[in-house]
């Protein structure tokens, strides 16, 4: 039997024919990157291939790397293997990697969501023989509400905080959630302030030509009274730090898919939990997998065991594989005490979504 086109190795997903890895977690020569989150884009590879819109964020996060970027639908050929990218809808610049050789097609989803968040290029199903999928929220208890409903709640909460004279701090990952929040806030209520880590990411995206709503970086000069009338977007690592406490009294909202479960919400001890994820919910996962018409689906991270069993029961050919992905949303389950790394107000440390 011939070797499969993609294999799971202890360095990452490997294509022997094309001699490249997809989202490897140990240093390799050629790495194809689905998106710029830290559990997918590691430092130390010789050559990187990623989507255009990931370019500046990758430079910002990984420093001087040897990076080539391409558009969605564009094809790169390596030793006869055709590599192309399709929108994954996870964050700005996130891509599914399509790999084809001698008529056999594999697709690596990276992380994805099927709902359009209005800022990341919407997910597109890609027909393939083999589909390597995440399943972070692969349990039927996870079912997302339409984004407009969530942001009605967010904006109402912000408005009432302003009326009550308390600051509003909304927490989400610096790449993805932060911009999604930013673009959906009702700017008639007030101004948007950002933590340094988030503003650095925003600036990288703006350099990349992404148009974002206006934001103001919080510095030591920022007036507490002015900030209180607006909203602060902060990364998870800032929760409970002196940096955040100095804006008190504040109400702090947490945006994550884990907020769907009451216990997880209570553990976070957030004033408000908004159920908002950049990953597909249960129905999103099942429909995305179905839309690929794949012969075999491989589940890399999330509730892999039960989701694999379920898919097999309803007629898919599913397998569980072990990878090191899943740092980004899984972090959200961790309670703060431990996770907090002292982040300078300038926000030069980019650590909040390390695995």
């Amino acid at each position: 039997m011939a070797k499969p086109l993609l294999e799971f190795t202890d360095r990452g997903i490997y294509c022997a024919q094309g001699k490249f890895y997809i989202d490897p977690w140990k240093p390799v020569d050629d790495a194809v990157i689905t998106h710029a989150h830290a559990d997918h884009a590691y430092v130390g590879h010789k050559n990187y291939l990623a989507h255009h819109l990931s370019k500046e964020v990758l430079y910002y996060r990984l420093g001087e790397i040897n990076l080539r970027t391409i558009e969605y639908g564009e094809t790169v050929t390596k030793n006869g293997v055709q590599i192309s990218m399709y929108p994954a809808g996870h964050v700005i610049g996130s891509a599914q990697i399509r790999v084809e050789y001698k008529g056999v097609v594999w697709v690596v989803s990276g992380d994805y969501k099927t709902d359009d968040d209005g800022i990341s290029t919407p997910f597109e199903p890609v027909k393939c023989h083999h589909f390597i999928s995440e399943c972070t929220f692969g349990m039927p208890v996870y079912s997302w509400k339409p984004q407009s409903e969530i942001f009605t709640d967010v904006n109402n909460w912000w408005r009432s905080n302003v009326e009550n004279g308390v600051a509003t701090v909304i927490v989400g990952y610096s790449l993805g959630k932060a911009q999604r929040i930013l673009q959906n806030l009702d700017l008639d209520i007030g101004k948007v302030y950002t933590h340094g880590v988030i503003e650095n990411t925003n600036e990288a995206l703006r350099r990349n030509g992404v148009i974002l709503n206006p934001t103001e970086r919080i510095t030591s000069e920022s007036s507490k009274e002015e900030v209180r009338k607006g909203i602060i977007i902060a990364p998870p690592s800032s929760v409970g730090t002196p940096w955040m406490r100095k804006f008190g009294p504040y109400s702090f909202g947490y945006c994550s898919g884990w907020m769907a479960i009451r216990g997880a919400k209570r553990r976070r001890a957030a004033d408000r939990g908004f159920i908002m994820s950049d990953h597909a919910d249960w129905n999103g996962l099942v429909s995305a997998i179905d839309a690929t018409s794949c012969e075999c689906v491989y589940l890399t991270h999330g509730y892999t065991a039960s989701f694999t069993r379920y898919l097999n029961e309803i007629g898919f050919n599913a397998r569980e594989v072990h990878t090191l992905y899943g740092g980004e949303e899984e972090d959200a389950r961790v309670t703060e005490g431990e996770e907090v790394k002292e982040t300078a107000p300038s926000g030069d440390v980019v650590k909040e979504d390390a695995p």
């Binding site: 349990m139 004033d271 431990e338």
Partner: protein
Amino acid sequence: MKAFAQLFLSLDETNKTNEKVKVLKDYFTNVPDTDKMHMLALFTGRRPKRPVNSTLIRNWAIEASNIPQWLFEESYHVVGDLAETMSLLMPESQNSSSKTLTEWIAEINAQAARTEEERKLWLMESWAMLDRQERFVFNKLLTGSFRIGVSNNLVVKALADITGIEAPALTHRIMGSWMPEDYTYDQLIQEQNVADNISRPYPFFLAYPIQETSEKRKSAEEVGLALGDADQWQAEWKWDGIRAQMIKRGGEIFIWSRGEDLATEKFPELHPFLNALPDGTVLDGEILGFQNGLPMPFNILQTRIGRKNLSKKILTDSPVATIVYDCLEYAGEDIRSKTQSERREILEKLQNETGFSEVFRISSLIQFNSWEELEKTREQSRAMIAEGVMLKRKSATYQVGRRRGDWWKWKIDPLSVDAVMIYAQKGHGRRADLYTDYTFAVWDGDKLVPFAKAYSGLTDAEINKVDYFVKRNTLEKFGPVRTVKPELVFEIGFEGINKSTRHKSGIALRFPRILRWRHDKPKEEADTLDSLKDLLGENGG
């Protein structure tokens, strides 16, 4: 029901006490009086009846969710709450309902008289007209596990603000046995006296702990600095039994446990002495296993608490007596505002007059002239089968709930042992989907023998680390239980140890909990079963 569902959601949405009180007040001012009483009953632990079998509810929920049973079970492990799991798994409702909480509870109660088919039909229709949040509280009502992150104190505070009645009086009025069907809001807020309900207990006064850890103990000097002159205080042993309030009124007797359970029938040995008390007497004390004039370890009492029928054998093997330490009502008069010393005098008088002094005991006072002397006496706690000492200010009134200032408990260090974690299971509630429930083992030769389970004692940050370890070091899975690589060592504290025929290790611990994670100890240095068994002789039966 919409208001009640919203109440739940709003309470979940804040961690601030003041906000919670505001939310409760909003609820009270916006719902009919009958809803207020139902809410009050639910929030103070008075569960509605459960007319529909919970296994059937579960099965119908699985049917309504259209998923395989195993996936329902897995979902339950992720969510950690049955009512919530069911509400998350069912499809969105198409209709809505404007029925009040009172109406829904009446419907639930009416199911008792229905057939199984009718119940199923009613349940399916009900689910289809409730939104997710309503469905969650509805399922909570049905499955009867109503635990809300709101203390009685907060509910009382909100009610006190609204009615203008003082919180201690309200706390008293919502004590005892009442159901929202027979206690109206008007009755609650009208002036009333004790005689209105002869079974009604007083709110318990609870001692505050003198905080100590195994590494940092309080010296007599520190205690003295905090509490002042030793002669302002009375000291008693801290007995390890069941806290109880014993009432004799109108020719009837009632025994209440601290959980506000009426436990009169559980302790027939106490009936003669209670019946012989003068009418209008309320005593506060501890019920313990007692034989030959000595208290017995708690586990002896434990064996009879759960029993429905008290057989002759149980009554012979584990007889009880009570050690009384306070008197709250005398000659029909509420004497809680008298001083500790005055109440003590009355108590001693009552005890002197009893013909049942073997059963009606009194907590003797420990004589001491200085805190140093008391500290030494405290060292004898274990020999006295006590958990430490109690300190009560001689001028203290009998207050409501846990209050700093006048009553302190000064417990002795727990016994402890270093053990290896070998199994882990996911927790519930705010620990859902995290491995938080662990089984610990000690060495028996070269084998690890499980001897205790513990759930509490680690910080959230430590729990996350252990959870991370469990997920990456699982050797086997048995349903929800994982066998993990034996590696992590913890110091397990406990209050007592007893022989057990039901456990493989041959011992059972009382109140085991994690004292700390021993990062410094390799698993080879954990304790042995023999060292645990050595403790048997000194500290239990």
